[in-house]
């Protein structure tokens, strides 16, 4: 299962969906303002949209997650049994 999250890290939308994803053992890909969370989250298994990072001046060395581009995101979506989002 893959959760897509686009909300900023300080929002309820982010907290609720991230908690639900973790509770369900799902993969997560951060998009849009949610990529800011990748600078603080301890989780190294999270996917982060590199395009949205670049737009916001976040470099790959600043984050813990795994940067992905849109082609890789499509592969993740096709490979997942279910895609939930975008939150």
């Amino acid at each position: 299962m893959l959760f897509l999250i686009s909300s900023a890290p300080d929002t309820k939308e982010f907290r609720t969906s991230y908690r639900l994803a973790m509770d369900m053992g799902a993969d997560v890909c951060l998009l849009q303002d949610a990529v800011y969370a990748s600078r603080d989250l301890k989780n190294e298994n999270i996917y982060v949209m590199v395009d949205d990072m670049k737009l916001r001046g976040i470099s790959e060395s600043e984050i813990r997650g795994r940067p992905v581009d849109y082609d890789q995101l499509i592969d993740l979506m096709v490979g997942a049994d279910k895609v939930i989002g975008i939150f």
């Binding site: 849009q32 303002d33 849109y70 995101l73 592969d75």
Partner: protein, 76 residues
């Protein structure tokens, strides 16, 4: 059977980044040969208005027109 991806867009084109995200996801999905659909509802339909003159943000109508030429199927 090829995989099918349906995107649901319900926000207006220039107040949110969703238009851009939807265009990028649709573009990559079409490139990978997925049957790609987009359903626009509520303010999402404004992405398809003619005569948009916005600058400094991804142009919604131009972007989606080009994707429809590549096979994106859109329902409002």
């Amino acid at each position: 059977m090829s995989k099918r991806l349906t995107l649901f867009l319900n926000t207006s084109p220039y107040s949110f980044e969703n238009t851009y995200t939807a265009m990028r996801i649709a573009e990559a999905a079409l490139r990978k040969g997925l049957e790609t659909h987009l359903v626009a509802s509520a303010d999402g339909v404004y992405n398809f208005l003619k005569g948009q003159k916005g600058k400094g943000l991804p142009h919604a109508a131009d972007g989606f027109t080009s994707l429809m030429e590549k096979g994106l199927k859109v329902d409002l």
